[in-house]
Amino acid sequence: MSKMMTSFVEALRAADVQVSPAETLDAMEAADLVGFGDRTLLKDTLALSLAKTPEEKAFFDETFDRFFSFETMENSTSDDDAAESQQSQANDGEQGDDADNSDGDASDSDGEESDAAGSGGPPSGSGQGGADPEEQAGEEAAQSSQSLMEMLQSSDRNALSMAIARAGEEVGIRNIRFFTQRGLYGRRIMERIGLQELIDAIVAAEREEGVGGPRVEELKGVRERLRRDVDDYVERNLALYAQNEGKRLREEVLESVRLTNVEMRDFKMMQSLVRKMAKKLVSLHSRRRKKARRGHLDVRRTIRHNVAYDGMMFDTHWKRRKVDRPEVMAICDVSGSVSTVARFLLMFLYSLGEVLPKVRSFAFSGHLGEVTDLFETMDIEQAIPQILHEFGGGSTDYGVSLMDFADVALKDIDNRTTVILLGDGRSNYTDPRADIMKQIYAQARRVIILNPEPEGLWGTGDSEMLKLKPFSHKAQMCGSLKDLERVVDDILRTAA
C-alpha cells in the first residue's frame, strides 16, 4: 500500500503537481483513515491532502482516474483480508474490462461514480507485489510463465492483465519517459511474461501441421492479441508517468532561445512559460522587508514594556515601517524594428500586471498611449493584437513618444516608481529627447532600459541607446526569456 502511494505520488509529480514527502505521509494517514473501499471518497480525501491549487486539482483528477484504472483499489498488506481482496479484485476486474479503453481520457473523469467505480482496476499485480516484492517476485514470475499458455487459451483476461502488470512492474515501467521507449518496454514485458514459450508452441505446431495450419493461425492470433494488450498497457503507463516530460524539454529549450527566433506555433507555450515566470518572480519578491527602528515611537508598546520599570519610559519601542512593493511603469516599444520581440515583451507585461498590483503599461511606436486598461479588461489573446494594431507597425519616434509619456505619467512618477523601458532605442534619426529621459531619471527610483539588441550594436545606425543610456540606472540586453527573468528578478530585488 505504501508502495502504491509512492508510485501514485510519482505519477502526480510527473503531472506537474508539487507533492512534498510530508504531504505524502499526510495522504497515507488520511487514506488509512477512510480506507480503500470507496473510490470517490478516496479521491476526495487524497485531493484534499495532495493537490493544493485549483490547477493542481485538475491535474490530480486526471491522474487519479488514469492511475487507479489499473492499480488495485484494495489494501492487500494485511493477511486477513487478503482473500477478500482477491475476491473483489476479480469482481472489479470483470467490470473493469469494458471501462478499460475509455478511462484514459479525462472527459469522463469528474464524478461519474458508476463508471469510475467500474474501472477499479483489472491488472492489480503491482499492488499485490507491494506486500513483499522481493520474496514474491520470483515465485510469481515462475507462476505466470507457467500459466501463460493456459491464460491465453482460456482467454482469462483478468489473469492475463494481472500478469502483464506484474511483468511491467518488474521491468520498471515506471521509469518510462519518452514515447520512443514504447517498443523497448513492450518487448521487455513480452519477454518477461513468457513470449518464448508461445513462440516455441508456434514452432512446434508448425512442425506438426505445416505453415498455415489452423492451430498455428490460432496461436499467432493469440500472440497478436497479447501484443496488443501489452502495447495498451505500456501506452497507458506512458501517459501516466511521462505526460509532461516532452513538454518540459520543450520549455527548457524555449526559455533560452532568442526571442526573435521563437516560432509562431510556440506562442501558446511561450505564453504559459512567461506567465509561470512572472508568477515565480512575484511570489519570490512579494515579501516585504521591514525597516526597523525608524519613524514614529510606538507609544503603546513602549508603555507596555516600561510598566515594569514603574512607568519610566526609557526602553523605547518604534513603529516599524514597511516598504511597499514597487510601483512599476513599463514602456514598451512595439514598432516595426522590434515587432518579433514586442509580442513577448507585451506578454510579459501582461503577466506582470496580473501578478503585481501596481503596474502601468504603455506602448508606443510613433506615439505613445497607456494600455493598462486594455490589459486589465481583455484576455491576453485579444489585448496584444489590439495593442499591436493600435500602436504598432509605425516607425519609431522616441522623442514624440517620450513627450506623450511625460504628458500622461510624468507627474505620477515618484521615488517609489520603477520605470522600465523596453525597446531597441532606434528612433529613425529623430531627436530621442534625452532631456525627458533625464527628467524621468531624476524623479524615479529606478530607470531600466532593456534592449533586445546585443550591446555591440548599441549606437550604430539610428540607435540612440548611447544617448538614452546615461539616464538609466541600468541598461541591459534582454534577448531571451532567461534574460528577461534575470533582469526582472533584479528589478524586484532592488526595488523592494
Binding site: 510530508a22 491549487t53 485549483p54 515594569a308
Partner: protein, 316 residues
Amino acid sequence: MSDKVKSGAVQAEIELIKDGFEAGGYVANTHIATAVFLAKALDKPILVEGPPGVGKTELAKATASYLGRELIRLQCYEGLDEAKALYEWKYGKQLLYTQVLKDKLADLMAGTNGIDEAMERLHTFDDTFFSPEFLEPRPLLKALQVPDGGVLLVDEVDKSDQEFEAFLLEILSDFQVSIPEIGTIKADVKPVVFLTSNNTREVGDALKRRCLHLYISFPDQKLEMRIIEKRVPGVPASLRSQLVTFVQELRTKTIKKLPAVSETIDWARALLLLHTDELDETLVRNTLNLLLKFEDDIESVENEIPGMVRRAREGG
C-alpha cells in the same frame, strides 16, 4: 476492519456531517463534508480557497454550530501582529498593580533589617506581575484555551504579512504557544481550524503543506437551487429555478466580478420582497445591481438580458 466496512462507516459519518450542516442552513456537497471530517479526524487545519462569496467563512460558522463549539474568528489584515492575534498584557492593570504594591510595600517589608533581608522577603512572594491574571488572550490563544475545543477561523490569511504566516505555522502544527514569562500553553482539545484565502497573494508553501486544501468553486445548478431553497425559503419553486438558471448563465460571461452565491441569495431575497413570481426584463434590469457590482459589468451584459431572461424562463 476490512476496507469496505471502514469506508462505509466513514461515509455514514460524512453523510451525518452533511445533514448536520443542512439542518443549520448550510448546504454542502460531499467534497466539503469530507474535508471537514478529515480535518476533525486528523487534527489538521483546512485551507479554504475559492472566489469571494462562495461560503468560505460560512463553512466555519456552520461547522461551529454543527459541532456545538464556540467560533473564534481572527480577521487578518496588513500589519496584524502577535499582540493582536495571540496575547497581550493588560498593562493598565499591571500599572495599577505596581501602585498597589507600592502602597503595601511598607507593610510587607515591616520588620526586615537591611536591603538583603528585604529582597529575600520579596522573593518569597509569587511573581504575579506576569501571570495569567494579567494576560489578555487574543483569538489564537483563546482558541487553544476553550475547554472542549473551539472552531478557529483565520479569515483572509492572504491579507496578512508573510511574517505572520510563519508565526501561524507553530500554532497550527503543534496547537501550542509559548509565552516566555509563563510557559507553554497547549490545547487540551485541539480546535478545528479554518483558514480562508482569496488569493490576493499566494499563500506560502510551508503553510499549504500543513493544511488540507479545499477549493470551493461556484455551485452547480442543482446545489445552488438547494442553497436558495434553504436560505430563502419563501421563493416559489419556478422562480427559484429561473433565477438560478439566470445566474448560472451570467457566470459564463466574461465580466470583472462574477456573481457569487451570496449575491444570488441577496437577489432572491430582493425578488421575494418585490413579490415577483416570474423573471422579466425590466425587473432584471432594475435589480441587476444586486448581482453585478461594477458599472462596466452591467453595461457589458445589458444587451444580452432579454435573451438570458427568455432562456431562464424556458429552462425554469
